[in-house]
């Protein structure tokens, strides 16, 4: 822990210094070069890529270099290349130096519903390789807690997300990074791991501790190994699902106690950079909140000779302007986060804020203050979007107030949103506590293209799926899935896993239905609130959706972080993963005040029954003189008393 604490100290010191310096001098170069103690050798001096407002960078849009724009606004050059290039030269640096790299960015997207989507991404790259059996004891920017976890459990890829709320695709469009309500964890282990289940169990418990979450509730009853839906996102081509574990906890409530450990993983903590905006009380005062950690091996450089570890921390929040703004359509960083930006994280090689202004080319929809001179384009989710860029490493971004408080003032009601091409819905049909039917509707809104999707359903064992009732229909016709992988459940051991590949006809709704029977649990198996119902996790729909514009397949170029998470292999389509709603299903529930009554009743029945049977079995029957009736006996008593002969 020593390196971490010393870094923390240095960070605090650096933050303090930079603050002071900000106050005394406006000289950018000085500020940037000041925090000597932690500037790594491989970090390129910022001056090189600094954009002075006067200097017009070459008009290059890296997503589409041919197209040249002659707007009065300047297009941002791909200055990241400048960072990428010097790196090979630094290869010869001594081993003791760190080659970690940290980038942070915030994307703000005004949504058509009037809400604001804020997506933070922090990427830490760590050039090390456990695979060769090297023991790593030195951590720089990469959090040691996670580094130790991936080395100890031989994790190849780890994806974990905590989400509170449901992403409303039809109002908000596709998110940059999808996540299901609750907690989701999927891990690819190295193919050297022999006891995957054991490693998985330990790993979930460790992660549970790291993130203060109930991940320890992941056990064999909610773990599956999907065969096709979750491919590794990083380097490597082992796709044997034996090394994959996937689990979802739809009931997990996400709150500050999960956010705090997540924030601690950041090199700057919440002391500097974009992370200063992360005030819990604001982040959780929102319509949607999702935080995630993704670890995967990526190429170290363009040549891809050596792997390096990438840690991506993402935080997606949707702010409801309606409730907070009391109907007034105006928002600013301060309103959303109760903070403004004053500096970049000094450890970050890049720190940027992007605002999606695609729908607002002439400023007729909203007014963005302060206006940014920089624009960039990126192809995200099949669409070419335009962003205003604010580079926090540039002193001028903060202006004379030395703080950046982006403000958007809506001028007109936003028009209709372009419908997302893929959308889904799920619900439980039927009534009563015996049977039911799960309906999953998948909408393809593409006017003329059909495309296949992979549907993954994980259903707990206590809903017994009648797999023979599985039907897939599109446009009132049966739609035979081209691939079905079904693993039946085992009571109390493992869930149902249903994976299938379905071709969605253009402009259609495909309905997948399967009936189930509700099991009667043992009375100790009920949750403490059984009448709340039992959750069934979201289904996962993964698809390669036809793209409206050519996707950028050139992975070597630097792209904004939010557009480069899912590797893109073809130009004509892009990868989308969507999650359906989780389901809440009521199971037949006994009245839990009953056990007491039942005990009393059974005891009584046993006592009475046993007593009588015992009586019957042990009694000897014999003919007996009929005893005189009660009246006669009474009369005899009186007669005896009177001295008269008895009757």
């Amino acid at each position: 822990m020593a390196p971490r604490s010393s870094i923390a100290f240095l960070l605090a010191f650096a933050a303090l210094c930079s603050l002071q310096l900000c106050e005394v001098s406006d000289d950018l170069d000085q500020t940037k070069s000041e925090p000597e103690p932690f500037t790594e050798p491989n970090q390129v001096p910022v001056d090189e890529k600094l954009e002075k407002p006067g200097e017009v960078p070459p008009i290059v849009s890296y997503s589409d270099p041919i197209e040249e724009s002659h707007d009065d606004k300047q297009w941002q050059a791909t200055e990241e290349e400048a960072i990428a290039k010097p790196e090979p030269d630094e290869e010869i640096a001594p081993l003791s130096t760190f080659k970690d790299d940290f980038k942070e960015e915030l994307v703000l997207r005004p949504l058509h519903s009037g809400d604001i989507y804020a997506s933070f991404q922090f990427r830490t790259l760590w050039d090390t390789d456990f695979l060769q059996g090297k023991r790593v004891s030195h951590y720089h920017l990469f959090p040691k807690s996670l580094g130790q976890v991936i080395s100890k459990f031989s994790v190849r890829e780890l994806h974990i997300s905590f989400t509170q709320g449901y992403w409303r695709t039809m109002q908000w469009g596709q998110p940059y990074l999808p996540s299901p309500p609750g907690a989701e964890l999927w891990v690819w282990f190295q193919d050297t791991v022999t006891d995957v289940d054991g490693a998985w169990k330990e790993l979930t418990n460790v992660l549970s501790g790291i993130f203060c979450a109930s991940l320890n509730f992941i056990d064999s009853t909610n773990t599956v190994h999907p065969s096709a839906s979750f491919k590794p996102l990083g380097l490597g081509n082992v796709t044997d699902p034996r090394f994959l574990r996937y689990a979802m906890l739809p009931r997990e409530i996400v709150c500050t106690e999960n956010l705090t450990p997540w924030k601690k993983l950041l090199p700057c903590g919440t002391k500097a950079g974009l992370a200063v905006l992360m005030k819990s009380e604001k982040l959780f005062h929102s319509s949607f909140h999702s935080e995630a950690v993704h670890i995967r091996p990526v190429c170290q450089d363009v040549d891809c000779k050596a792997p390096s570890w990438e840690l991506r921390q993402t935080l997606n929040v949707v702010f409801d302007v309606h409730t907070s703004g009391q109907g007034k359509k105006e928002w600013s960083l301060f309103k959303m986060f109760s903070r403004t930006l004053t500096e970049a994280c000094p450890l970050a090689s890049s720190s940027k804020v992007y605002v999606d202004v695609t729908d607002n080319p002439q400023g007729e929809l909203f007014e963005l203050l302060p206006a940014s001179p920089l624009l960039t384009q990126a192809v995200v989710l099949g669409d070419r979007r335009t962003y205003s860029v604010y580079d926090l490493t540039n002193k001028d971004t903060f202006g004379s107030t030395r703080s950046l408080n982006l403000l958007v003032r809506w001028k007109a009601d936003s028009g209709e949103m372009v419908r997302p091409l893929l959308h889904s819905e799920r619900y439980v049909a039927g009534f009563g506590l015996q049977t039911g039917e799960i309906h999953t509707l998948i909408y393809n809104y593409h006017p003329y293209r059909a495309f296949p999707v992979l549907l993954l359903e994980t259903v707990p064992w206590y809903l017994r799926l009648y797999i023979h009732t599985l039907t897939v229909t599109s446009k009132n016709k049966e739609n035979k899935p081209s691939y079905i992988h079904y693993q039946p459940s085992k009571d109390r051991l493992r869930p149902h896993l249903l994976e299938m590949m379905v071709q969605l006809p253009p402009n259609s709704v495909t309905e997948v239905t399967v009936q189930f029977e509700r099991a009667l649990l043992k009375w100790t198996e009920y949750t403490p609130d059984p009448n709340h119902g039992f959750y069934v996790g979201s289904s996962v729909i993964s698809a390669l959706v036809p793209s409206m514009v050519a996707m950028d397949t050139n992975n070597t170029q630097e792209q904004p972080l939010f557009s480069s998470f899912f590797p893109c292999k073809e130009e004509s389509s892009y990868f989308v993963r969507i999650y359906t709603e989780p389901l809440l299903v009521n199971l037949p529930t006994p009245d839990f005040s009953m056990p007491y009554n039942v005990i009393c009743l059974t005891c009584t029945v046993v006592a009475v029954g046993y007593g009588s049977f015992y009586n019957l079995l042990t009694r000897t029957f014999q003919v007996e003189e009929p005893s005189p009736g009660l009246a006669k006996r009474l009369a005899n008593v009186i007669r005896r008393w009177r001295g008269v002969p008895e009757l």
Partner: protein
């Protein structure tokens, strides 16, 4: 068991039971009735109390301010409704969208089996409009519903206005943990049925509807709002749902608690509660309230839009504004605050409402009779059937001592053949089946041959079949088995008694009121009918206590209890419309009272009728 294993004591016990059978039966009957009437006496009942912790201790503040604006919206709605000549769908969609809801519509159509003359509906085609307020940071797993119906006849626009006002107010609050669905349903119950079937993707009544696009997960509770009069003095809580189902008592408790808190005059069955329980008039008042509930529950109808939710295990109640207490006035803001409070508490629920009672009667809003208290009343009536059956069983088991020599020759014939029992059973059930199926099927033929409307045709066919059934059985069994024997009718009666006991027992478990009312009328005839009674008197009594007449009495008693007594002629008209409503309720919403009466109770009564004419 010790008692029964001793043959002497067993004999003594059976002797006692057979010898004192009739007095015991009489005592039981009187005791059953007395017990039932005693239920309305306040010291015998329990005070209501909130069982659900999540709704009890947490305090909520009601701040809904915009009652006047809601009324204005209601007037606007009324204007648009007039202009559109029905549901102003576009206006509603736009208004709900402006309030920040996700809005969806659902079209439905339904052709009734025969025209409904009360509401003048035959081919119904309508649209439901609903808006979902998505709870922030909730994952669409739970929802609450607020509904207001909009039909041609009713003037429920205040409720719609309030619903929209609440939607606007709720939208700006951050504390929602469950989605809230605001539903304006057309053609009240039919629209509601279409929406519920659409939401749960079922089709049990042959409704034609378009599938729903948006859902909010499993619905936890629903409130339906009916504000039909312009001036509202008090709020009435309607609980009785389809097939006599009731929502969890905690929902009633919640309503009562908020009425107390906000100081709104609240009623149940349109009756205020009184504190003078110890006076005769106080008792009568409570008994009236309870009897009204019994009548409504026994009818098996849904007495408000909420009634259809109950089938889906959704706790629901209707809140109805009534105008009958002149000196009070309740404004829209207050009603809005009441609803806000109730919704906030329902929003706090961690589990479905399940803590409190599902089976209860309410002699007033603050008191209730639980199933443990009212079941003995029914049990005392049902035990008569068992005692009589025991008596018959004993009689059948012991050879009659007086006729030993005469019977000796016919001994083998004296054990009645299965056929002689089966024939009346089959015939009476076939009559029942005819009563169930023919009225609707033969309406066209009836309309062709008689100068009546379809509705009248259906009702009159039903009555005709019912009456024809009286003529059928006592003639038929002779042809098949020849002369009926003394033992024959006893076996038949034994079967009929046990049949009735099981039938009433099952009915009373599901719908106590229906079971009890049927028991009160059917048990005496079941107990005392024999072929040896004076024919004219016993026939009259049997007919007067038949299920059809029971229904007629119920109509009059209900009107009496409503303090709207009707003359004989009006009563008859009402009776006919009740029959048609019963048949319609069955085919539209799946109410089970009509099939129960036609397929089981009436045939069972026919068996006793058969015994009366046993030769």
């Amino acid at each position: 068991m010790g008692l029964l294993s001793d043959p002497n004591r067993r004999r003594a016990l059976t002797n006692l039971l057979t010898r004192l059978n009739t007095p015991i039966c009489l005592v039981c009957y009187v005791a059953g009735l007395a017990w039932f009437m005693g239920l309305a006496f306040e010291p015998f009942t329990l005070r209501t109390y909130m069982s659900e912790n999540a709704m009890g201790s947490t305090m909520v503040e009601e701040r809904f301010p915009a009652g006047e604006r809601a009324l204005a919206t209601g007037r606007e709605f009324a204007a648009h409704k007039r202009k559109a000549g029905g549901m102003p769908v576009d206006w509603l969609v736009k208004t709900m969208q402006a309030r920040g809801l996700e809005v969806y519509t659902q079209q439905f159509s339904r052709t009734l089996p025969f025209p409904d003359e009360n509401t003048e509906r035959y081919m119904v085609k309508g649209t439901n409009v609903y808006g979902i307020l998505r709870a922030p940071r909730a994952s669409r797993t739970e929802a609450l519903v607020l509904t207001a119906s909009c039909s041609e006849g009713n003037s429920n626009h205040q409720a719609v206005g309030l619903l929209l006002g609440l939607a606007q107010y709720f939208r700006n609050q951050v504390y929602w943990a469950k989605d809230i669905i605001f539903l304006v349903n057309e053609y009240d119950l039919i629209g509601m049925q279409a929406w519920l079937e659409g939401y749960h993707h079922t089709n049990i009544t042959g409704m034609d509807y378009t599938p729903l696009q948006g859902r909010g997960g499993s619905i936890q509770a629903a409130l339906s709002l009916e504000l039909n009069s312009d001036v509202i003095t008090s709020l009435d809580l309607v609980l009785e749902g389809l097939n006599g189902q009731l929502p969890n008592l905690d929902l009633a408790n919640l309503f009562y608690a908020f009425c107390q808190k906000i100081d709104i005059l609240c009623t149940i069955q349109g009756k205020l509660q009184r504190s003078d329980w110890d006076t005769p008039s106080g008792y009568t008042h409570a008994a009236q309230t309870m009897m009204l509930m019994v009548m409504k529950q026994a009818s098996g109808r849904s007495w408000g839009d909420h009634g259809l939710f109950l089938r889906y295990h959704i706790e629901a109640a209707t809140i109805k504004g009534i105008n009958s207490f002149r000196q009070y006035k309740t404004d829209a803001t207050t009603i809005g605050r009441l609803l806000e409070g109730m919704f906030r508490k329902l929003n706090n629920l961690l589990e479905r409402l399940h803590q409190s009672y599902f089976f209860y009667l309410m002699p007033s809003l603050s008191h209730f009779v639980s199933i443990g208290y009212y079941m003995p009343a029914f049990g005392l009536l049902a035990v008569i059937l068992l005692l009589k059956a025991l008596d018959l069983w004993v009689q059948l088991g012991t050879p009659p001592p007086g006729t030993e020599d005469g019977v000796a020759g016919v001994e083998p014939a004296s054990s009645p053949s299965v056929l002689s029992i089966l024939t009346p059973l089959v015939i009476s059930h076939m009559t029942g089946a005819a009563l169930y199926t023919l009225p609707i099927r033969s309406q066209e033929m009836a309309v062709e041959h008689f100068p009546v409307s379809e509705t009248e045709a259906v009702v009159l066919t039903a009555i005709a079949i019912y009456t024809a059934g009286l003529a059928l059985p006592h003639n038929t069994h002779k042809f098949l088995v020849g002369e009926g024997t003394e033992k024959g009718w006893k076996v038949l009666k034994l079967v009929a008694l046990l049949y009735l006991a099981v039938l009433l027992g099952c009915t009373a478990l599901i719908n106590f009121s229906l079971g009890f009312i049927l028991a009160v009328t059917l048990v005496p005839i079941a107990a005392f009918v024999t072929p040896h009674l004076p024919k004219v008197v016993s026939t009259t009594i049997m007919v007067l206590l038949s299920p059809g007449f029971t229904l007629l009495y119920c109509v009059f008693v209900y009107q009496e209890l409503q303090e709207a007594p009707v003359s004989l002629g009006e009563g008859w008209i009402l009776y006919l419309s009740v029959i048609s409503q019963g048949i319609l309720d069955h085919s539209l919403y799946g109410s089970l009272v009509y099939p129960l009466l036609a397929l089981f109770v009436y045939p069972c009564w026919l068996l006793f009728w058969n015994i009366l004419f046993w030769k």
